[in-house]
Symmetry: C2
Subunit: 241 residues, 2 copies
């Protein structure tokens, strides 16, 4: 029943080999397919999606809790909501390459469900639920590093002004500061623009940041400087003062 191509993809791209292939199968099976093939006694992904939703919520929460020791509970909640949402999870589902392997009933197939964001989100959640049951949370963490955390690290989720504002507030506690972001390079390509900016505080060159827009590059530079400042807290986030 399981598509060997999917098994190969997971092994080559993510070094994931399921012990219980029926879990992987269920994670990719929509209820419409299970209903059309009752004789096969297939499980659909719905219960795994319930579990996987919570697996993702905890892992993403822990990752950003530790990565951003300077963010308040409210800011963490907002950031998590940007990551744990249909738009992101459906995109991750596409990046992994799940769509061609989803088992759909004929009606749903004709209705275009294979490209429906909510369904792709469900499959991403169900897959993580299946992986959690099959191999525990460490395997999930490793998978998320390659599929979700890389996007967080690239600064794709946070409100573009958050880190700049945060850095300004942080630096101002030590008196007046002069904060500048200087564009130091800019690609010529209009299709795929790239900016690099340098953060300059009171005339001293600090971190640089790169992004598809000036704003994104500035945000990355500010985020990097915040991480430097909070390096000690990052080592031991709970004792931040």
């Amino acid at each position: 029943m399981i598509d060997q191509e999917l098994v190969n993809l997971l092994r080559k791209k993510y070094q994931i080999v399921f012990n219980d292939l029926s879990l992987l199968q269920a994670a990719l099976t929509h209820s419409s397919y299970a209903n059309e093939h009752r004789e096969l006694h297939l499980s659909d992904y719905e219960r795994l999606e319930f579990l996987g939703d919570a697996v993702l919520e905890l892992n993403v929460s822990e990752y950003i809790y530790k990565k951003f020791p300077h963010l308040s509970e409210g800011q963490l909640t907002k950031l998590r909501a940007d990551i744990v949402c249909t738009a992101s999870f459906s995109q991750f589902s596409r990046e992994v390459g799940f769509p061609p392997y989803i088992k759909l009933g004929n009606g749903e197939e004709k209705a275009g469900a294979r490209n429906r964001n909510t369904l792709l989100e469900d499959v991403f959640e169900a897959f993580n639920g299946a992986l959690y049951l099959d191999q525990g949370n460490q395997a999930v963490e490793k998978f998320l590093r390659q599929t979700v955390y890389n996007h967080i690290d690239a600064g794709e989720f946070s409100d573009e002004n958050d880190f700049k504002t945060e850095l300004q507030e942080e630096l101002q506690t030590q008196g007046d500061v002069d904060i500048d972001y200087l564009v130091v390079s800019q690609s010529a390509s209009e299709e795929n623009p790239s900016f690099t900016v340098q953060l300059i505080v009171n005339g001293i060159q600090l971190t640089t940041g790169t992004g598809h827009s000036k704003k994104a590059a500035e945000q990355q530079a500010a985020q990097r400087q915040l991480l430097k400042i909070h390096h000690d807290k990052y080592q031991n986030p709970a004792t931040k003062s």
Copy 2:
């Protein structure tokens, strides 16, 4: 700073000894107290609450996913919402004995925050977040067995009709059935009533259930029979057909 009585309580009642006491301290510290004592550089519980909320969500989800292999995703979601809520978590917080050890600012103390359900819920979540960071998820699981899962096992959360309906649907797939719940004992006490019922299917005595009401006792009997029926699936929930 940490109240030695709390440390003793956690050790005696739950065999929990924190490695990093600052985590335990933060979990019990309201922002109003941290603000009133800035010179102490205390962390409040807000970030730990953010993390603990997700820790509880996953653990409860996993527990009911495995315990109730016959429940659909919709039923699991409803059951989880009954467990993971202010009313329950504040009650667990009281049962553990957190209230006297919460650090509150004067204003919040006078406003009665120590007995406020939302605050007690926050502390329960923050404590689980702190325990997770200090000792990992296994320690959280152990703590939840003594504080949350015991309540789930006692059937305190589910809609009283769920298990009866579920059992009826399950049994009817094998043809017509005659299902009865017979009260076999009833306590005389009006203040603390107790009922025991016996489930009888097609004249055969099956499980019994006990509860403070006839309905609750029936539900427990039905739940126990469902667990028997699904014992195989319970051993390997993902492969249920």
